[in-house]
């Protein structure tokens, strides 16, 4: 019975991941070839694509997407490896992880906003330089940041967001029991053969780590190449990246522009495929070069420079984080803050009051959506993971399932979300909440799955064997043994799911047709609209909300344990009173 339920859930989850993406993709293919009944277009042709390729600046948009996507992913991967090489052996690594983890759950929009506050011509960086050199004209980086033609600022924001992700992926791979032993062995062997710490890392450990984090890195690459909110906030708008152009076309008053948007979505998929191929080519090249270097047998591998670079990456992060926190908090309380002063002239609660009164609905929308998606994701994922134990699928089916997990991460959101929304509108125009829920699930489920699967597979199976040998049914084992022993992991995955849902911009905006504003959609909207101070408040809220989720995740297990002991004590007192 329970086993059947778990197998059914696995199927449901599979469909939940597969359907929206494939249906959505079909939903942009038809319009891109000119078929769009709603606009009375029934003929298939290549006209839309012809029109698309005639768009002024299309090449530049594609180039920007590729440059920022591939550039940021390469740079972020390199930074991560330098960081790892510099401190994989020291206890410092835990601190690094603790420092970068909050950045992982900070929405992309908030990261871009924060960067804007620090690096814009009137930002904190310019203020610092201005107050030191007493130049009154904020020209220090006016030409460079933001809205530069090269997309450098977009690239920086992407790198900032990607490093923590890749780092945590690498750390979780390195923490898997089978890898811990292997890597420690490699390291000992390397050092005993006379290779220094850094070359041991790059020559022996990294190849094995990289193979296991390759898929997440490719997902990062696709995401970076097709991300919308960061270029929307930081890129020069004419022309921006391809993804922002798609957004504009779809939201254009002239509905026929949607056809152009659909065709551009298809192009976006090809851009992402190209990015992946390009990245793999570079990867192969590096691997070939690395293999040749292995034969050279050099024992010293830029020991000092790697340590220096790794530490600098860390230093940049530390400085940036400190500056971001300072400037955003200051702005949210500032009255008049003339350039280049480092302190505002006065403080006020006005912005907070204004923002909080306006944010009421978006806040509860975001919380309700996140709670619904994350909680149901955790339930679905738990049952699915349990089905892998109770009724293992055939190897091919299992592989198909794990591929479907990465599907929403490997197919750019701008490419399928519009098509998905189109289908959803055909089904019902009233179930906006449900449509938005589905659009969020597509992104929340993979992350919840990836994070829970690690601890679930690390669970000592003999506990379950013992419980079964005591006569407990699969459900009883799951409920009384596995769940209580995995409480921490379940709570953290739940909080991660909340954070992912909070950060969704495009799915929320599209699936709800703008009718369900969340803190993130309001924050992105506020950048182009209202005052910087309100934007600062939104950015803080965006950071605080996922954090609250994690606070709950950290305290809940302790509270459950406390309740359990109290119940136990009360019971044993009763027994003593009535006892023999």
């Amino acid at each position: 019975m329970f086993t059947r339920l778990t197998v059914f859930t696995r199927l449901l989850l599979f469909l939940l991941l597969l359907m929206p993406v494939s249906v959505g993709f079909i939903g942009v293919i038809f319009p891109s070839f000119g078929y769009f009944p709603a606009l009375d277009r029934h003929d298939f042709s290549f006209d839309i694509f012809k029109k698309l390729f005639a768009v002024d600046g299309l090449g530049r948009m594609v180039w920007l997407s590729l440059f920022t996507g591939i550039g940021s992913t390469l740079l972020a991967t390199l930074c991560t490896f330098l960081l790892l090489a510099a401190c994989y052996k020291s206890s410092f690594l835990n601190k690094v992880q603790a420092m970068l983890s909050p950045l992982l759950v900070l929405p992309h929009a908030a990261t871009a906003i924060a960067l804007l506050f620090v690096l814009s011509p009137s930002g904190l960086f310019a203020r610092l330089i201005g107050s030191i050199t007493s130049t009154t004209i904020p020209s220090a980086n006016a030409a460079f940041f933001p809205y530069d033609d090269w997309g450098i600022s977009v690239l920086c924001a992407l790198v900032l967001k990607e490093v923590p992700f890749i780092l945590l992926m690498a750390l979780s791979v390195m923490a898997q029991p089978s890898n811990v032993r292997k890597l420690a062995g490699y390291q000992r062997v390397g050092v005993s053969l006379g290779y220094n710490e850094k070359s041991t890392f790059f020559k022996l450990m990294l190849p094995s780590i990289y193979a296991q984090i390759r898929l997440p890195i490719l997902a990062v690459l696709v995401f970076a190449t097709s991300n919308v909110e960061i270029p929307l906030i930081l890129a020069a708008n004419n022309p921006g990246t391809l993804s922002t152009a798609i957004l504009h076309w779809f939201n254009h008053v002239d509905l026929s522009m949607r056809l152009l948007g659909s065709a551009a979505s298809i192009l976006q998929v090809f851009v992402c495929v190209f990015a992946i191929l390009f990245f793999i080519t570079i990867e192969r090249g590096v691997a070939l070069w690395g293999r040749n270097r292995l034969h050279a047998g050099k024992r010293n591998f830029f020991e000092r420079s790697i340590a220096f670079l790794g530490t600098s990456v860390l230093a940049v992060y530390a400085v940036l984080i400190a500056m971001v926190v300072y400037v955003v908090v200051m702005y949210s309380f500032a009255t008049y803050w003339p350039f280049p002063h480092l302190l505002p002239q006065g403080f006020t609660l006005l912005h907070w009051q204004t923002a909080l009164s306006a944010i009421d609905e978006p806040f509860w929308n975001a919380v309700a959506l996140a709670f619904a998606t994350s909680t149901s994701s955790v339930v679905f994922v738990l049952l699915t993971l349990e089905s892998e134990v109770l009724a293992p699928a055939k190897q091919k089916v299992a592989r198909l399932f794990s591929l479907s997990l990465f599907l929403p991460l490997l197919v750019p959101g701008v490419a399928f979300l519009y098509g998905l929304v189109w289908f959803q509108q055909l089904l019902s125009t009233h179930a906006l909440g449900f449509h938005t829920y589905i659009a969020h699930m597509v992104y929340v489920v993979p992350y919840v799955y990836l994070s829970l699967a690690v601890s679930y597979r690390r669970f000592e199976p003999r506990y379950a064997y013992v419980a079964q040998s005591l006569g407990k049914s699969p459900f009883q084992v799951f409920w009384h043994i596995k769940l209580p022993m995995l409480t921490n992991a379940v709570c953290v995955s739940w909080a991660l799911g909340m954070a992912i849902s909070f950060s969704q911009y495009l799915p929320t905006l599209l699936a709800s047709g703008g009718a369900i504003p969340t803190v993130t959609t309001e924050a992105v909207a506020s950048v182009s609209g209202s005052s910087e101070r309100l934007t600062a408040v939104y950015a803080i809220l965006q950071g605080v909300m996922p954090f609250m989720g994690f606070v709950i995740a950290w305290t809940l297990p302790a509270m459950i344990r406390f309740a359990r002991t109290r119940k136990r004590n009360r019971f044993s007192q009763k027994v003593m009173r009535y006892g023999p």
Binding site: Q468, S469, L470, G471, I481, P484, T565, S572, P580
Partner: protein, 226 residues
Amino acid sequence: MDHKSTVLRGQTLSQVLSLQHLTIHKGGERLLQIHTEVPAQSVLTIMGPSGCGKTTLLNAISGQLSAPFVMQGDICINGRSVVAIPPHKRKVGIMFQDALLFEHMSVKENIAFAIPPERYRSKKAQSIAIDRLLENVSLSGFGDRSIDALSGGQQARISLLRTLAAEPDVVLLDEPFSKLDASLRAQIRQWTFDEIKRRDIPAVLVTHDKEDAQAADGEVIEIMPC
């Protein structure tokens, strides 16, 4: 629920485990073959180098065999084939070298978890019964302790109490003494075998240790590496 098995248990006085032409394959290769019978109160000892499939054999008996392992032949407890019965209904208790006590439960809860439902009239009666069990292994007053406050020897004793509290028809012992230090080892081993005799059930012991095999005082089968 387990009506059939209770009737069966009523008919026969003692339990027998019989492994009939039991063959285990890994992939296409034959891993081991065994044909024997373990009467009640006796312990069958399985010895052999690591990787020869000792634990796999226990998995087959307890119903935990999974791919790539495949088994042929029959496993009967008390004359009834259990091959088609799911693991939790086989009434086969297992003990590993780690006590594997559930850390989110107290000592008493660990044992209570194992006791079949409705064995006692009330929670109070059950609690008193568990106190008696703990007394027998000189751990009285340990009922409300949490697991991490116990020594290895104490955990081993509670683990065995837990296994027996489920009233198994067969007990499987997967090197359960190997992590205990020498002085404790003989004592707990003797006590385990005594309990198995007292309960009138058969047991299968997997071990590396010759002393274990001697103490078990039953048939010894050595599995050769294939």
